[in-house]
């Protein structure tokens, strides 16, 4: 049973980080692209970039918290 908790904790972080990582990569790439195209809006893009990254990161953090809870049960 404890093994299942360990596998679950690993999966929670792994799958959570997978989706979040892909999403943040797309967001960062697009932001760089738009700044390279229009350097004068860099400040606005940066603010929006941080907000978007924060939203995506929250989902990964949920996975991390679940993992910590599962590790605590072992």
């Amino acid at each position: 049973m404890e093994g299942m908790f360990a596998i679950g904790a690993g999966l929670a972080v792994a799958v959570g980080a997978l989706g979040g990582g892909i999403g943040q990569g797309i967001v960062g790439g697009k932001a760089l692209e738009s700044i390279a195209r229009q350097p004068e809006i860099a400040d606005q893009v940066r603010t929006l970039l941080f907000i978007t990254l924060a939203f995506i990161e929250t989902l990964t953090i949920y996975g991390l918290l679940i993992a910590f809870m599962l590790v605590g049960k072992i």
Binding site: T47, A54, I61, Y62, L65, F68, M69, G72
Partner: protein, 228 residues
């Protein structure tokens, strides 16, 4: 373990009724430090600022400009003091847990690594958003709960309630996760190995403070903006 709050083991109790855990005392110390700095910076104000006053004027000017850009001048004037206080407080809280292994020493833990304290901050943001929207639009503010149609009322209310929840868990998860990882590394190798992770902790602490403030200001901006 993770959601077991520090409130279970109070450091001392006020009048046998109000338990005070060590995290609250750390918080008081941080408030005192920021307050003393601000007091000494503005004690002898001069027209041409020098030293500490110069630094504080720069910070105030920068935050007012930044929030003015996001919220518009008149709204920013009302809420920039609160928002920059959030930023300073969270930044100092995050950095107060930088001592190696601080998460396992009572009183040296970063206050933001306990979800009670991040929840408090998020609830303050929740009420600030409602009050700022009501102040700006009066009764019209409540109209946005039934937009675009009354059927959306439950979803709109759910959205408002989900915001403080995600603010709480984001700040708490980041700081707590960072501390846990440094703790694991310290257990495995006490020297040098945790260094890169702690350097990353410096970055995370600043970014999380900025993100919390930006999100709070964008919520206020959405409540006070056009479209009600």
């Amino acid at each position: 373990m993770i959601f077991a709050s520090a409130l279970q083991e109070p450091l001392f109790t006020i009048a046998d009724k109000l338990p005070v855990p060590d995290l609250i005392v750390t918080e008081w110390a941080i408030i005192l430090i920021i307050g003393l700095f601000a007091y000494f910076a503005t004690r002898k104000m001069e027209r041409v600022p020098r030293g500490l006053q110069n630094v504080f004027e720069m910070v105030v000017q920068w935050t007012f400009d930044f929030f003015g850009q996001m919220l518009g001048e008149s709204v920013a004037k009302k809420w920039a003091p609160l928002l920059s206080t959030f930023f300073l407080f969270i930044l100092v809280c995050n950095y107060s847990g930088l001592i190696p292994g601080a998460a396992y020493i009572d009183g040296f833990k970063a206050p933001t690594s306990d979800w009670n304290i991040t929840a408090t901050l998020a609830i303050i943001v929740f009420f600030t958003v409602q009050i700022s929207g009501f102040r700006e639009h009066k009764m019209h503010y409540f109209g946005h709960f039934i937009k675009p149609m009354p059927l959306m009322l439950p979803l709109n209310i759910l959205e408002e309630v989900a915001r403080p929840l995600s603010l709480t868990l984001r700040l708490f998860g980041n700081v707590f996760g960072e501390e846990m990882i440094i703790g694991f590394l310290l257990m495995m190798a006490p020297f040098l190995i945790p260094m890169p992770m702690m350097a990353l902790g410096l970055l995370t602490g600043a970014i999380q403070a900025i993100v919390f403030t930006i999100l709070a200001s964008s919520y206020i901006g959405a409540a006070t903006g056009e479209g009600h």
